[in-house]
């Protein structure tokens, strides 16, 4: 017997492709682009967003019947801000160098449109278990894009993955560098992330013509 019913399993798999928060819903772009020069930073950011989105979805869903409609944005902001403060302090305590790389962008998770978007679209109208699954699904969809962009940018830009040199050593010219290959410096600069995401959108919409925009 399956652990999750079909409808619940769809909550996790839909955002991975057809309803992807970044490329289809166009949410959460800011942090997706800025920190993907290193794969490690991209993975940590995805995990942080997963924690904030899942926990936040559950909290808002539990409170959904007692939040007055006029102040619901403020309540959502406070819940998210509290969760992000927790994430920030944990990162500063257990992964200090990484928190320096992520710097301001951990705080910007508060304004990450995915989180507020899912609160409004889902958590305010559904029960806690389904909201939890929706949070996990959307953050996985977000994480997939981050990991893809981070993978290509770090591999092509510095020849490393997670900090480990995988193509050889550029200084002593070993491995792939012996054939004359050089790191592509363009991949390290910020605009590269925009172009990589543009190409991902191109591939995604070519495979699924239903997603193409009308003129």
């Amino acid at each position: 017997m399956a652990l999750l019913s079909k409808k619940d399993a769809n909550l996790i798999t839909d955002p991975l492709a057809d309803n992807n928060p970044i490329t289809i819903q166009v949410l959460g772009i800011c942090s997706a682009l800025a920190i993907t020069a290193e794969l490690k930073a991209a993975v940590v950011m995805a995990v942080s967003v997963m924690f904030v989105l899942a926990a936040g979805n559950v909290v808002i869903s539990l409170m959904r019947n007692i939040i007055p409609s006029k102040i619901r944005i403020i309540v959502q902001l406070i819940v998210v801000a509290a969760l992000v403060i927790i994430v920030d302090q944990v990162l500063k305590a257990y992964a200090y160098e990484l928190s320096k790389t992520l710097a301001v962008f951990v705080g910007l998770i508060i304004t990450n449109c995915i989180i507020m978007g899912r609160f409004e679209a889902f958590a305010l109208a559904n029960g806690p278990w389904r909201s939890f699954l929706d949070g996990i699904g959307n953050s996985l969809g977000y994480g997939v894009i981050l990991v893809i962009v981070g993978f290509f940018r770090e591999l092509l830009g510095s020849g490393t993955l997670f900090g480990y040199p995988v193509l050889g050593d550029p200084i002593t010219k070993s491995g792939l560098y012996a054939t004359g290959y050089e790191n592509n410096g363009f991949m390290i600069i910020p605009p590269a992330a925009l172009i990589v995401v543009g190409i991902i959108i191109w591939v995604q919409r070519s495979r699924n013509p239903a997603l193409v925009e009308e003129n």
Partner: protein, 254 residues
């Protein structure tokens, strides 16, 4: 005075909110279909940043920083409330945006209607919170500089959304491949504009020998990071011997 001018130009061109640090992308992508709404949203962003950054600077200086509570009494000198920054910043921003909404509704109902949902959404625009957080991270020294930073980063964002809205209006009549239409081509164009803005990197090199240093700065930005130390010396030597017109980017690549 000079640091005001430097901060002003640095925040608009070099640390541009959209092209260098990608803040405010969601509304940037959503509102840039027409130039008129883009101008309205850009102006609102400049105004909100100009108001919230100095206010958050005051909060940071007198309440949140390490040792900021010293004005209450010497026994409070050890308190460090910086972990509360996120909540307090977002609270001031939400309040200020509500105020801006009331003002805009009163003085320009047409702008209020055309902005629609995006005006209250400025409160959760990463550009606004990002402005305050960067102000805190870069430890901006005075209230005047904070105000300057707010306005100039707003102007940078405004320039970006104005440019992309103008381009998107024009490419509606171009042959964009169907899967790239709309969102995809906007991403790629923004990336190309970002590369263009990188050329401003040599702008603020200061000092007497400006032309030599600015060529060096631009060459540094073009080089991959690993190879920088070796090529820097060669470029400096060439600069002192040859007229800078002879130096092209090909020389840097060897």
């Amino acid at each position: 005075m000079l640091e005001h001018v430097e901060l002003f130009f640095k925040s608009i061109f070099i640390d541009n909110m959209v092209f260098a640090v990608f803040l405010g992308m969601c509304s940037y992508l959503a509102v840039s279909k027409k130039v008129a709404t883009a101008v309205g949203l850009g102006a609102a962003v400049i105004f909100v940043l100009a108001v919230t950054v100095p206010m958050n600077w005051l909060l940071d200086k007198y309440l949140l920083q390490d040792g900021a509570l010293v004005w209450l009494g010497p026994e409070y000198a050890d308190y460090n409330l910086s972990f509360l920054s996120f909540i307090l910043f977002i609270a001031t921003i939400a309040t200020m945006v509500q105020l801006v909404e009331i003002v805009v509704e009163k003085f320009s109902p047409s702008l209020y209607n055309s902005l629609g949902i995006f005006l209250p959404l400025i409160a959760v625009n990463c550009a606004i919170l990002g402005g305050s957080l960067f102000m805190q991270a870069r430890e901006i020294e005075t209230l005047g500089l904070a105000f300057n930073y707010g306005i100039s980063s707003g102007i940078g964002w405004f320039l970006a959304i104005l440019a992309i809205a103008a381009i998107r209006e024009k490419i509606r009549y171009s042959n964009v491949p169907a899967p790239l239409r709309g969102l995809g081509i906007t991403f790629i164009i923004t990336g190309l504009m970002g590369i263009g803005f990188q050329s401003f990197g040599g702008m603020l090199t200061g000092g007497g020998e400006e032309t030599e240093e600015s060529t060096e700065q631009v060459n540094q930005i073009l080089e991959p990071e690993v190879v920088v130390p070796v090529l820097e010396e060669e470029v400096v030597e060439k600069n002192t011997e040859i007229d800078e017109k002879d130096i092209s980017y090909n020389d840097v690549k060897k």
